[in-house]
């Protein structure tokens, strides 16, 4: 059937149907969460107290180093080396951040250059990955074709080993492709991040088939259904992919791939600055805080969306 076979009113009817199905699907998801939050199983008081103690203990183990870094960045030089160490500073000062900016001003290459490099890597890497991974995940999740099962298996197996295993051949391949000493050496491999593809595929499986069929009857080709039906529905999944990629790329220092000074990322430049030994402990803390703020706030903003995606992360 082609779309010419439909009159305008019939098309409108179909569009309405699609809309209604979307609403149903989304509200069913939300209902699940709401219903859950209301239920609370009864518990004994002593159990509650034990629970709070365990959570407090491990919570402080988890938070202590981060809080210490943050407060260290707000301490003056004399207070960092006070004995015994204090978690919270008596006098809050921003001198470490001021020092950092002065040190940055003295570098040969302006810091904005490093910042733009990191931004380029993070932006191109993340956007490219989200687009390519979703485009690939859609047929793998929703359609049947020869080879699909094999690819799905390969993706699952590739989750089972870390990049450390392949670093030597990867380096050779990147140098054969002529990507050494360019930011593409980091951006392009990031596009092929398999955990992202896997999470996206798992999330897409939950999209009701009726929606896609309705779009097909309406005359949409596969690319159109992908762009206008699937992509808006998997927003939680691509926000998750953004968080994961952001964490990886934001902190990258170029490793053994980038040599030219004005192509190097921010994290490399900041690390050079704080390599000045113990006298720069405060500045180092300021650097850590700056590098931490961005991925942490991206996570804070998108936490619920990320959990929504992770709910479908299971392996069968």
């Amino acid at each position: 059937m082609k779309k010419d076979d439909y009159t305008t009113s019939e098309k409108e009817q179909l569009l309405k149907e699609i809309e209604q199905q979307e609403i149903k699907w989304i509200s069913a998801k939300q209902r699940k969460h709401k219903k859950y939050r209301k239920v609370r199983l009864s518990r004994s008081t002593s159990g509650d107290i034990a629970l709070i103690i365990v959570l407090l203990l491990f919570g402080s183990f988890s938070a202590y180093p981060l809080i210490f870094t943050i407060t260290n960045s707000l301490k003056g030089f004399d207070e960092i080396f006070v004995f015994p160490p204090r978690l919270f500073p008596r006098n809050i000062t921003f001198s470490n951040f001021v020092d950092l900016f002065n040190l940055i001003g003295n570098t040969q290459i302006p810091i904005s250059r490093y910042f733009i490099n990191t931004l380029t890597i993070t932006l191109f890497g993340t956007v490219g990955h989200v687009f390519l991974a979703s485009l690939c995940a859609y047929p793998l999740a929703k359609h049947h074709f020869p080879g699909r099962h094999l690819i799905n298996q390969l993706v699952v197996y590739s989750l089972m080993f870390s990049v450390a295993v392949t670093q030597i051949p990867t380096y050779m391949i990147i140098s054969w492709l002529g990507l050494i000493d360019s930011q593409w050496a980091i951006i392009i491999p990031a596009w092929g991040f398999t955990l992202g593809l896997f999470l996206m595929r798992q999330f897409m499986v939950t999209i009701p088939n009726e929606l896609l069929e309705a779009a097909k009857i309406d005359g949409a080709n596969e690319y159109q259904s992908f762009m206008y039906i699937v992509m808006p529905l998997v927003k939680p999944a691509w926000l998750t992919l953004i968080i994961l990629l952001f964490q990886q790329l934001w902190g990258t220092d170029g490793g053994s791939y980038i040599f030219t000074e004005n192509l190097k990322p921010l994290s490399y430049a900041l690390r050079q600055i704080v390599a000045g030994g113990i006298a720069r402990t405060g500045t180092a803390a300021a650097v850590t805080v700056i590098m931490l703020i961005v991925p942490l706030s991206v996570f804070i903003i998108n936490q619920t969306k990320m959990l929504d995606t992770m709910a479908h992360s299971g392996l069968k």
Partner: protein, 313 residues
Amino acid sequence: MTTNTVQIAENFVKPTLLQRMKKKKVYYSMILPFMIIFTIFTVIPVLMSFFLSFTSFDMLQAPKFIGLKNYINLFLNDDVFLIALKNTIILALITGPISYMMAFLFAWLINELSPKIRWFMILIFYAPSISGSAYLLWLLIFSSDMYGILNAYLIDLNLINSPILWLETPKYALVILVIVQLWLSLGVSFLAFVAGLQTVDKTLYEAAAVDGIRNRWQELWYITLPQMKSQLMFGAVMQITNALGIGIVSVSLLGFPSVEYSGHTIVTHLMDFGSTNSTRLEMGYASAIATILFVMMLGSNLMVQKLIKRVGK
């Protein structure tokens, strides 16, 4: 049967694989871009690593086939590799199961807190794993002089008289790595568990209470865990891969090489031979190390998958 239907049946031939693929070509066009990158940066490297492990290769001359010699050298002549293997196995056996259980336990404990508190606890537990290089703060905690945070507290409490050289004493190396690794370990699998627990069907609990489930442990084992089996498997994959891949943390905290190779792992051994910054450039040998690590990761993953399938039975 009329002649018409017979004719149709005769004309109907099962489409060949190529024909079926042609019909679905739009799907191939969609997966192609990602699959090319996936093949170049994941599939081919694994195969290359496997083949190079049977060769002697220094990146300057063509690889020379030497059979199993690399593997034989690793196990018979390379004492440092055996230390690395031992350390990796010890670290994985401790941090793997503990981090896995911790991720589940904390996800389970915060599951019934009010949404706002739960949101905050997730942030606290997950923050270390997204903090990038913030784990370097542990250098300050374990620092060897009296300004090292741990030393300072211990001296202040009169537990020790002089500072302990935490990072330079071999017997503390693995303990420190375990602590820092556990600190970093509540990552993606923790989030998967938190999310998975929210999708567990609550009506089953009521049914179970009627059926005679008495305490929360029984409830956990018979109701919650079986429903979360798929997330449990996913989490296991993530934790095992991380536990066997400890290396960069060791190099940044204990230095390279660490004192008496006390914090040496397979990954640091691999970096020693295979990293382009190292002077050795014995790529065949390094590939053999990588292949062993690959087999260990894949093997333990598949083994644990089988174990988890039994949960709740």
